[in-house]
Symmetry: C2
Subunit: 437 residues, 2 copies
């Protein structure tokens, strides 16, 4: 994409309404625009990031055997009256009356609806287990929306729902999602740590929050130092294997938010614990028959008896992740995208846009990168070098190819945004380096 033609309205100044760094940087880098309190439009570069995150989540859920559906945003109130949550939910639920005065609502989550779809579609034990997920916009009418997309009112969530015949089956479904989540976050370049969360009246060990570490995170966390050594992508385990050893390993290492932290409970001296800050990006939950019971989601078992299904739900804050990743990955100059979610892999800066010979060479580099399938943002604008450097650092592409004085000798500078390292190398070497990666 040529920057001269791109819709990328960056801001020079820090917007005063933004209290946290990700919100500031998303507005400054032209990723989003607020359209109402807590509601955002995603501009081209921001939407590219959102879609990359969404796709990593999708692939991670698919390979764990979950199947993608799409439920609508607008739901009938009756379903929530059946589950008993219609009143409980309070003012965070956006309630709507349609033209026939029917009570509707903008879904904040989908337990009721998926249970309803399932109960009318599935009849026998042979149809389970199943795990259905969707990636859909939700609405929670926060009283004071803030922190940009980290706590917006309209937000994109991936929510999966598992249906099993037995508690043991539900445990396997839960463990699959546990593994899937760790791999999904790792693929985004994030270290996510599962922390045991409240299970409510059900009890047990089947509720976890997934928290990524970020200096600017919303809550304090205490972790065993061995977490640093874990790598879920290198665990030799498949979704059809016995997941108990894996689950055991990743739940026995101590990790707790400051709310949950119990001094002395870590198994090692508290002084050896890693103290950090973190951001919640996912939450998984086993809740048994909480919805299947009132909504009547049952199947006939092998002996003809009716069995109420065991369920769990599994959420990832997809739009929240865009902000969370920036909280974890930025510096004074701007965003530092992990490569897997970067809107473009390479920024190509033509510092001599007024020079026909230099521009011809930059145009050729641009064409070669495109032909090699490398996503590249080409700063072909007639702007000062300082502006180009600042904008490219701000938007945080992993690599910068800087074409300046050396161009006529076939040389460019290659800069790594994360390390800051700059090397003067030949065009050919620069291309090989970013294409090969």
């Amino acid at each position: 994409m040529r920057l001269s033609q791109y819709f990328l309205p960056t801001l020079k100044e820090n917007p005063t309404e933004a209290q946290i760094v990700s919100h500031r940087l998303m507005l400054r880098a032209g990723l989003v625009r607020q359209t109402s309190a807590g509601i955002y439009a995603w501009l081209p570069m921001g939407y590219r990031v959102l879609r990359k995150i969404e796709q990593i989540v999708r692939e991670g859920q698919d390979e764990a055997g979950a199947q993608e559906v799409l439920m609508p945003t607008i739901q009938p109130a009756e379903l929530w009256q059946q589950s008993g949550r219609y009143e409980v939910y309070g003012k965070e639920m956006l309630r709507i009356k349609d033209r026939h005065e029917r009570e509707m609502l903008y879904g904040p989550t989908n337990e009721e609806m998926i249970t309803d779809i399932f109960r009318t579609s599935v009849k026998t034990y042979r149809d389970v287990p199943k795990n259905l997920y969707h990636i859909q916009w939700k609405f929670r009418d926060e009283v004071r929306p803030r922190f940009g997309v980290m706590r917006g009112r309209e937000f994109l969530m991936k929510d999966a729902y598992s249906f099993d015949l037995t508690k043991e089956g539900a445990r396997i479904s839960y463990q699959k999602m546990f593994l899937s989540y760790l791999r999904i976050f790792a693929r985004m370049g994030l270290q996510a740590i599962p922390m045991q969360a409240d299970t409510g009246p059900i009890g047990g060990d089947m509720s976890h929050e997934f928290i990524i570490l970020a200096e600017t995170g919303e809550s304090g966390v205490f972790c065993h130092p061995d977490w640093i050594k874990t790598d879920p992508l290198k665990e030799p385990v498949g979704y059809n294997d016995d997941l108990n050893p894996f689950f055991e390993k990743y739940t026995s290492l101590y990790a707790a938010t400051d709310e949950k932290h119990k001094p002395g409970a870590a198994g090692i001296p508290d002084s050896e614990l890693l103290q950090a800050r973190g951001i919640e990006v996912g939450h998984i939950f086993y809740f048994g028959t909480k919805y299947s019971q009132p909504l009547g989601a049952k199947v006939t078992g092998p002996n003809g008896d009716l069995i109420t299904l065991e369920m769990g739900s599994y959420g990832i804050g997809v739009s929240r992740l865009v902000g969370a990743i920036i909280e974890a990955c930025h510096d004074e100059a701007g965003i530092i995208w992990p490569e897997a979610v970067a809107p473009y892999k390479v920024g190509l800066l033509n510092l001599k846009a007024n020079d026909a010979a230099a521009t011809k060479i930059c145009d050729e580099i641009y064409t070669m990168l495109q032909q090699a399938g490398v996503e590249v943002l080409y700063d072909d604008r007639d702007e000062r070098a300082g502006t180009k450097f600042a904008d490219c650092d701000l938007v945080g592409l992993p690599w910068q190819i800087i074409g300046g004085r050396g161009l006529d000798k076939g040389m460019v500078e290659l800069k790594n945004r994360k390390s800051g390292e700059r090397t003067e190398i030949s065009i050919e070497d620069a291309l090989n380096k970013v294409i090969g990666k």
Copy 2:
């Protein structure tokens, strides 16, 4: 995907609430489930089709130079008060009050919002032309929603908006979308015919509906027989070329809905006109300064003067297309998906699921198809052959590989869903045929 594990709740009987064939077949084939009047959940197979259509639309818009954004579903009422449409829109607009009693609405379209985003982001003539599009769910509170996804309340639309400095520029933007639309529909395997539509007070020739032909279509159409010979994918024209000759060619061939048809106006005898039925799937529109004027979307021109932007909008009914394609492509037995939008390219039927040797061969065919990157739905269920044939015809995959008595001699039947042609061939030939296509 193995059908034994797939969430595909097909129906044996025709649902009584469905009045048109696409609605009936979508419910019967397990593509969607109604969750409220005119509101649908997309089940795994239906959602695959929806996403394929969406992706063809996206790629077609991208190559025409449009840039993708995503605007939220919930909009503030003020924007619509500024444009004057808040009252005009009537009861089809879903109006909402949030917890602070602010007037909001579920967007039925986005002219106001995109104009607002544009006016606050863009300052000078150098920032135009631009064309921004999004693919987002909309809501229109139809008084009597019917015909399934063809006229739902919550529906997925692609809407693009162009911004130009001059009328001449707006004409070029319009022609680019005109070409893009013809190519998008052709890639879906559809013949779409642009028909001049009302331009309202602006006048001129810059409003077209795109109508695909279907025997069960909602409106009658009259077309020049030469339309059959046109192929927008074979027109040697690019988006940066002069599009006037192409536009001239495709707008001079007569085509009109029965509402618009004027006897004797076709340039050939009316008796030679093709009389058919059709379904509207897209609409493009130039509307000048209708929104930029009241919302103040202006840029400074080369001479420092303020110029009000010239705009157009361009819509495709993405979820409607799923129904429209079925209306155009079905027979007594079920859906006949064009290959480009088929949820899976091949159905693999194991007619001897109880026979270990036969099953081993079918499993191998399944693995080979997957390894070759062919999307395959594998009917591995323990069901009668008749059920498998009926289900596979119903869901309408382009190819069927039927493994039955011939399996032990290395033979299968290959069936083309559209032509109905069945040939007994070797497994190797069958694989080559469906992989090579």
